[in-house]
Amino acid sequence: MGVVIAITRADTRMVVCPPLRMVREGILEDLKPHAVEPFAEPASANETRGTPDDELALIRATAKGDRAAFKTLYDRYAPRLGRYLLRLLKRREVVGEVVNDVMLVAWQSAARYEPRASRLSSWLFGIAHNKALKAMERMGARKEDLLDEEATEDFASRDDGATPEQTAIGHQTGAALLSALEGLSPNHRAVIELAFAEDCSYQEIAEITGCPLNTVKTRMFHARKQLARLLAERSGR
């Protein structure tokens, strides 16, 4: 059983995504990742990047201090943001407070939301992502779990004679996969969650995490590789 995938460690250049580095150095506010993201495709002048009209109206009303509109946004987004934060932070007791950290930024900065720059959901998840990183630091996460530096490994073999590292992955049950997901590092869990719990495109994940498009795809691949290792460990290989 199992399909073999060849993996080559071809390139060990380090990639550090802007938000984390800048968050660490305290030079990035919660709202900046989209502004500094040079890799996402530019929006055309009148495009609102898929923010639904009713949500646009709600965030505009929120900008004017309309609490009923804000409550509607809260009811709509708090469960989604909370789910994302719970799966990254893994501590249910801190989720409510971090969700409120995110929504407080939304309340205070609603006027700065720019629909041509990002979807409302990406904007909120971008804030949540940064808050999650900060919360993990407060909770004493290990530095290596938070550092975004990872080799930009190419998974397809190249002609440079690098040694292929082979990873076997068989068919797995949902329960085993879910349990393995819990073992992923936060950065890997983040891309998986955004792709499959939130159905984000890779462009949106790039915006939310502040990473180049290629890094998003590479990170997805690494997440799969890490999962395969975890599954192999658990099945006693």
């Binding site: 201090g65 909370g82 719970l86 989720v95 969700v99 998974f155 792709a195 159905d199 799969r224």
Partner: protein, 218 residues
């Protein structure tokens, strides 16, 4: 495998998770499907991504409790208060009292505070009353005084005569208001330190059907 096919395979292989979640654009989808039809490796990988997607979607969920929203409101009150350079709001006041109370008093105080919140809640969330809440951090734009004061909101259908009658009943005079959200600040004929008299006045105000809300400022 030709170089072109190898390049195409790499491209498709990397894009499979986003094919699995349906977020590729039509052009990317077309290119991917053209390769996928003839590549067993990509087909197998797609199956695994779909399994993984299903697992991710079945992970733990979270939803906010009423206490989370209450905390949110408290924080936006505070944030707005800070932005407008005003004193801290009602809930925050309760919280800070609670924080500075000696430990043995806390449970007694918590019980009292819970009662206050329930009573205030009953007033705040009367039909048409939802907007009152934010006025609790409205700046006091009147000169300070050592007289007791109340924030009062009258019923929407209260006539001028009924308002006058309610004020006379409390022996109160309006010192500020209405605020943009309809709050009046009224002054009472006794010192701010006279807690018992203040409590009586509040009880009296609450008993008046033409007064929707009454509480000490701040």
């Amino acid at each position: 495998m030709t170089a072109e096919r190898s390049r195409q395979h790499e491209l498709v292989f990397r894009s499979l998770p986003f094919y699995a979640n349906g977020t590729l654009n039509p052009q990317e989808t077309g290119q991917l499907e053209a390769h996928l039809a003839g590549c067993l490796s990509c087909q197998a990988e797609l199956v695994r991504w779909r399994d993984l997607a299903a697992a991710a979607r079945s992970g733990p969920e979270w939803s906010p409790s009423p206490a989370d929203w209450a905390a949110m409101e408290s924080r936006i009150d505070r944030a707005d208060g800070r932005a407008r350079d005003t004193p801290i709001g009602f809930r925050e006041t309760i919280r800070s009292w609670f924080a500075i109370a000696p430990a043995p008093m806390r449970w007694a105080f918590a019980a009292q505070a819970a009662l206050v919140v329930v009573l205030a809640g009953a007033l705040l969330f009367r039909p048409g009353g939802a907007r009152i809440y934010e006025t609790l951090s409205t700046p006091e734009k009147v000169a300070p005084s050592d007289r007791a004061r109340l924030h009062v909101v009258f019923a929407e259908d209260a006539t001028e005569r009924e308002i006058r009658a309610a004020l006379q009943d409390l022996k109160a005079v309006i010192v500020y208001g209405p605020s943009p959200t309809g709050v009046y600040t009224v002054e009472l004929p006794f010192a701010a330190s006279a807690r018992e008299q203040l409590d009586q006045a509040i009880a009296r105000a609450k008993a008046n059907v033409k007064i929707r809300f009454a509480a000490p400022p701040g």
